[in-house]
């Protein structure tokens, strides 16, 4: 029997080395909140191809992977930059038919993750009834009849089971005990539970004592047994937010939006912000001080 290693520290590149062509990769976060962007940039500059990307609550993660030609199939409910409602690289990819899609409702995606997390083949729901979600060609949605007296006909939402989940959190120790300090934990816990393996980038790796779990345990995302590796990646969510450590960078998101205007604009963006080391990326965005000074957005 192999003794489980409790030092799970690794680098972003170590995590990307764990991925392979054709894999199904689930991405946590929500639109412009806590997306594992350093990992997304690393995947974009890697040789990986033909990925099935599961990003129910998509943002620039979807756009960058779409613009980099990494996506074979996208499972999503939306892709948006929130303050800029339409994700331009996602749009370009969709409109050129660059990848296959399975479009879900946000709640249906949540339900599929929950089924995956519970190791069930599906969970019943009414969501999707009456819509084109359940009529998409290339995906054969099934139905189940309630075995009880009501006999209601329900959608059987299949489990969503990514090979790998990638998330971004605020703190961890070297064992993979994670804290998400944001006001909203989103559905990262379910994504991790559903996935075969999960990797987290975190703003800071600290000692277990410094996690102060007695005070913070309600922000403990999931059991460490669910986490294969953690990579200390300060500003790893930029340009999305890792509130309260830092806010989304609307100015950078505008630069990113503008990069979808033409292939040349994208090539410029890619050269400056993606095909560079994370240290050079941080320098290009003005460094940690500039990110720390970003204003709290108004919703």
């Amino acid at each position: 029997m192999t003794e489980t290693m409790l030092d799970k520290r690794m680098t972003v590149d170590d995590i990307v080395d764990q991925l392979s062509d054709g894999m199904t990769i689930g991405i946590g976060g929500w639109a412009t909140r806590r997306k594992p962007m350093a990992l997304i940039r690393a995947i974009a500059r890697s040789g990986l191809k033909d990925l099935t990307v599961m990003a129910g609550y998509g943002g620039p993660d979807v756009g960058i992977l779409a613009a980099s030609g990494k996506i074979r199939k996208l499972v999503f409910a939306f892709a948006s930059l929130d303050h800029f409602p339409l994700e331009p690289h996602f749009r370009n990819g969709r409109q050129s038919g660059a990848f296959e899609v399975l479009e879900l409702d946000e709640g249906l995606y949540h339900w599929g993750l929950r089924a995956g997390a519970m190791k069930l083949p599906f969970l019943p729901t009414r969501v999707g009834i009456g819509t084109d979600i359940i009529k998409q060609s290339g995906f054969d949605f099934k139905f189940v009849k309630s075995p009880y007296g009501d006999g209601e006909e329900l959608v059987a939402m299949p489990a969503l089971v990514p090979d790998v989940a990638l998330i971004h959190a605020h703190r961890s120790d070297e064992r993979g005990n994670l804290l998400t300090l944001s006001k909203d934990a989103l559905f990262d816990e379910l994504l991790v539970r559903a996935a075969g393996k999960s990797f987290a980038t975190v703003e800071k790796i600290v000692s277990t004592a410094d996690l102060d779990m007695k005070a913070n345990s309600r922000y403990n995302l999931v059991e460490r047994a669910m986490i294969t590796g953690v990579a200390e990646t300060p500003l790893g969510a930029h340009p999305t937010s890792a509130d309260p450590d830092y806010q989304l960078d609307l100015k950078h998101i505008k630069t990113y939006v503008d990069s979808a205007a033409s292939p040349d604009a994208w090539a410029d963006y890619k050269a400056k912000y993606i095909d560079v080391s994370e240290a050079d990326y941080q320098a290009a965005i003005g460094g940690a001080d500039a990110v720390a000074a970003l204003p709290v957005p108004i919703y």
């Binding site: 339409l86 946000e106 009456g130 819509t131 060609s137 108004i298 919703y299």
Partner: protein, 265 residues
């Protein structure tokens, strides 16, 4: 009624607020500035029990308007992502949303125009529309009432379920399906016609039924031969709207911020 001049945006806000009348203690979600201010107006006048949020993650005691805030609101509870689904699946929500297309059945689209595999125009994606539509009441706001919004035939990708019998086992829509009102720049409509046919319940001042019908891709019913005029905001309502929206975001929604009564314009 009032002699105080009012804008089309303010007329729309008052009309949107009506969506939350007699809803009880539900989560009120208004997407976009005018529906959001409308929910606030409802809360501060006839629907004090509704719960509105800060637009992010907390319920607030008082409605929070769009744009910069002068003070932090008082928080009442949590409306994080998980809890929003718990609330909406229970039916304790009424959302007023702004789709891109709506058809005669109330089926709405925010996903894509054209072929879903390779759309002419890719938009957001279905978001939560499918689940919302069969779980709790929904209303709509359209800033541009025309045939590209109110289309002939079915919407290109049905995100929000509607009253189309062909889409249901035995032709019966699910119990939770409850489409309420549609507020546009021309009129207010609902689904109260025969077989849920969309009907015009009030015309904004200076607008005719013919103008509305000419800008709609399917036949409309009328609430009465003489269609009422959408009620003008009262002086009190205008003051409350100004209080909820001190940044005057409402003035930016319609080009040149037109008057609410186009005869007066």
């Amino acid at each position: 009624m009032t002699d105080t001049p009012y804008s089309l945006a303010e007329l729309v806000i008052v009309a949107c607020a009506q969506a939350w009348r007699d809803n009880g203690e539900v989560m009120a979600t208004g997407i976009g500035p005018l529906p959001r201010i409308g929910a606030g107006l409802a809360k501060l006048t006839f629907a004090p029990a509704i719960q509105t949020t800060d637009g992010e993650v907390y319920y607030t005691s008082e409605p929070v308007g769009p744009g910069k805030r002068t003070a932090e609101p008082e928080f009442e509870g949590i409306a994080n992502y998980d809890r929003v689904f718990s609330a909406l699946w229970s039916g304790k929500r009424h959302a007023l949303v702004g789709p891109v297309q709506l058809d005669r059945y109330g089926q709405a689209n925010i996903s894509a125009i054209g072929d879903h595999k390779k759309p002419k125009i890719a938009m957001l994606g279905a978001r939560g529309f499918p689940g919302n539509s069969i779980s709790h009441p929904n209303s709509f706001f359209f800033p541009n009432h025309n045939k590209r919004s109110f289309i002939e035939g079915e919407v290109d990708f049905v995100c929000m379920a509607g009253y189309n019998p062909a889409r249901y086992v035995n032709g019966q829509p699910p119990k939770g399906l409850d489409l309420r009102i549609i507020v546009t720049n021309l009129c207010v409509m609902d689904f109260g016609g025969p077989d849920h046919q969309i009907r015009v319940v009030s015309l904004h001042p200076g607008v005719t039924f013919e103008e509305v019908q000419d800008n709609t891709g399917f036949p409309l019913a009328k609430i009465a031969d003489e269609i009422p005029t959408t009620p003008a905001p009262t002086t009190e309502q205008l003051a409350i709207i100004a209080q909820i929206d001190p940044n005057n975001v409402r003035a930016t929604v319609f080009k040149d911020n037109p008057a609410g009564d186009r005869k007066a314009a």
